[in-house]
């Protein structure tokens, strides 16, 4: 059940080098230290649980974290919907976004799934287009198109909100 010694050393090295950046990456998407640590820890746990079967642990980490962030967003959205349902008087109130980081994050959250994943992995996690294509199982050209459309949507939304 346990990792071999060499695997242990490699796993620890990966943890030391990648955890702070992964957790920081997640924090920027969830704006909450506790949730960021939970997601980063869960991603590493899943990674170590299937370490011997993975060829690219770095990519796997960010894919898992991306999915966990998406789940977190869904959960938050579910709660927001429930609150709106029971407090209809608030629905017409202007949403107050405290800062630019939250503002852009909300827009990214609203992107279609395939664009969102490509966008997060490329612009946010820093993977190249080829790596993102491999991670998502799509052609490079498709990923480039997804990134192009994601940028267009965001700029359009930002322009609308800033008018």
């Amino acid at each position: 059940m346990r990792l071999r010694r060499a695997d242990n050393v490699a796993a620890e090295a990966l943890f030391n080098s990648q955890y702070p950046r992964l957790a920081g990456w997640v924090r920027r998407l969830v704006d909450d230290d506790g949730t960021a640590h939970e997601i980063a820890s869960e991603a590493f746990t899943r990674l170590l649980a299937r370490w011997s079967r993975l060829e690219n642990p770095h990519s796997y980490l960010y894919m898992i974290a991306t999915n966990l962030v998406r789940d977190h967003w869904r959960k938050m959205e579910k709660e927001r919907r429930a609150m709106r349902a029971v407090t209809p008087s608030r629905s017409d109130q202007q949403t107050c976004l405290p800062d630019q980081d939250v503002h852009v994050r909300a827009l990214i959250q609203a992107l279609p799934l395939r664009q969102r994943n490509a966008f997060l992995l490329h612009y946010y996690a820093g993977f190249g287009v080829r790596e993102v294509a491999e991670m998502l199982g799509r052609a490079e050209g498709t990923v480039k198109a997804d990134l192009f459309h994601a940028r267009a949507r965001l700029r359009s939304a930002l322009g609308t909100k800033n008018d």
């Binding site: 955890y19 957790a23 370490w51 579910k78 609150m83």
Partner: protein, 455 residues
């Protein structure tokens, strides 16, 4: 107007600020990963066995295999519909039916849940006693569900007895699918979902309250005279002293929480995700302290209810945990806190704090008949539910107004918990009802999940 290209470009160009792991993170991850590898191996082996068995046995057995391989699943007959049912009085209770048993031993006959805990929408554990004659040592059993109570199967319980004043256990809490505690007054812990339990050394003290969040558990250890009886929800009153301790999940090293109030009397702990609260009471009155659920010092904050100790207990003759203090607490993220303050009359004043208990304001009044034992809030604080001796009371407007959502069985409900913005569960005070109630609409309606029994 800001140029949109600039805003997007600035956001994308902003470097990611690293977030250092809290101490012990790597060890915890390694440990959890090892457990998952082991469970994956067990499941794979068991699934292979199930397929082979399915080829030679009756096909209808294939659907009742326990996915975790940890216990034996039992499908409850006459299961309630998953959709919410209207709650009108007590007619929702399902009549226990003979059960369709899975392979091996099912839950012991006569299982009566006294405490439950959930770690997600689907997975939970119920600690139960057994109607006599008992078939397990200590008349104690533990059940697990992975489908929100639609079916339950047996998992190993600690080698102890159902609680008396000074021995045994009465409550269960799990932090995740692996780390759990059973307590009140003894303290037991598991790191493998209940396959193995170890008893923690409490130095002769009773554990009267315990909750878990993030990576650790917080527990109130109290020294109480042997003559002091156990009261519902694992609590005790009239103790000589109490102290708040915490331990990282999976470790037996309980350490006193610095700055948390202590002294004679008793206390109850409630936890938000980032902030915890300790409500204590002694002969001189109540105190509230709060602090981080990560490591760090706690400090006293403003007490929400200024009434003396336990005005309600004197009239009802039964109170529990925080209820014994005349106050019920429920947390909401990130620093929100609701309190129901018992009064001499039937109305409980509902107060709320949005700054972690530093200041309070009144949000409404709940006209509760009988004694209130437990309060829970949905994560956003929109829905509040109070378990009382007469039924379940619900507020959909942050405590401003309340209605009786379900008239209870005799004795009402001893505990209510919300696992989600819409989903929650309640435990009847009279355990012989042999069931747990679930809501999937924020407390508006409730349905029974009968834990299978044929005794």
């Amino acid at each position: 107007m800001t140029e949109p290209r600039d805003e997007l470009g600035a956001w994308l160009g902003e470097p990611v600020e690293p977030l250092a792991p809290p101490p012990g993170t790597h060890e915890r991850i390694r440990k959890n990963a090892r457990k998952r590898k082991r469970n994956q191996a067990i499941t794979a082996t068991a699934l292979t066995a199930a397929v082979v068995a399915g080829l030679v046995a009756a096909p209808r057995l294939a659907g009742v295999f326990s996915p975790a391989g940890r216990g034996q699943r039992v499908e409850a007959a006459a299961q309630p519909a998953r959709s919410p049912q209207a709650a009108s009085g007590f007619r929702n209770k399902l009549t226990p039916q003979p059960t369709v048993m899975g392979r091996g031993q099912p839950l012991p006959n006569g299982f009566e849940p006294i405490s439950a805990t959930f770690v997600g929408l689907d997975t939970g554990w119920a600690l139960g006693t057994l109607s006599t004659p008992c078939v397990t040592p200590g008349c104690l059993a533990l059940a697990r569900t992975d489908d929100t109570g639609a079916s339950w199967y047996a998992v190993r319980a600690p080698a102890t007895v159902i609680a008396t004043a000074t021995t045994g256990v009465s409550q269960v809490r799990f932090l995740n699918r692996d780390d759990g505690w059973i307590f009140g007054p003894e303290l037991w812990w598991t790191t493998d979902g209940g396959q193995d339990w170890q008893r923690a050394d409490t130095g002769g003290m009773r554990v009267v309250s315990l909750e878990a969040v993030r990576d650790r558990a917080f527990a109130v250890f109290a020294r109480c005279p042997a003559s002091q009886p156990l009261i519902p929800n694992g609590g005790a009153s009239g103790c000589r002293s109490y102290q708040l301790y915490s331990a990282v999940a999976g470790t037996p090293a309980w350490q006193r929480v610095p700055g948390a109030t202590s002294g004679p009397g008793t206390a109850s702990v409630v936890l938000g995700r980032d902030t915890g609260y300790l409500l204590g009471v002694s002969g001189s009155g109540a105190t509230l302290s709060s602090g981080p659920t990560a490591s760090g010092d706690w400090a006293a904050v403003t007490t929400p209810c200024q009434a003396g100790p336990d005005t309600r207990q004197a009239s009802s003759g039964a109170a529990s945990g925080a209820a014994a203090l005349g106050t019920l607490l429920a947390t909401v993220a990130p620093d929100g806190l609701f309190a129901a303050c018992a009064a001499a009359g039937p109305a409980s004043q509902i107060v709320t704090s949005s700054d972690g208990g530093r200041s309070w304001h009144r949000s409404g009044t709940a006209a509760l008949a009988g004694a209130a034992f437990s309060m829970a809030a949905t994560p956003g604080g929109t829905m509040l539910v109070i378990a009382a001796s007469t039924g379940l009371y619900v507020s959909a407007d942050g405590g401003a107004s309340w209605r009786l959502a379900l008239t209870g069985p005799p004795g009402g409900f001893s505990y209510v918990g919300m696992t989600d913005v819409l989903q929650g569960f309640a435990i009847p005070a009279d355990h012989s009802n042999a069931g747990i109630l679930f809501t999937t609409d924020g407390g508006g309606s409730w349905r029974w999940s009968t834990v299978p029994r044929s005794g």
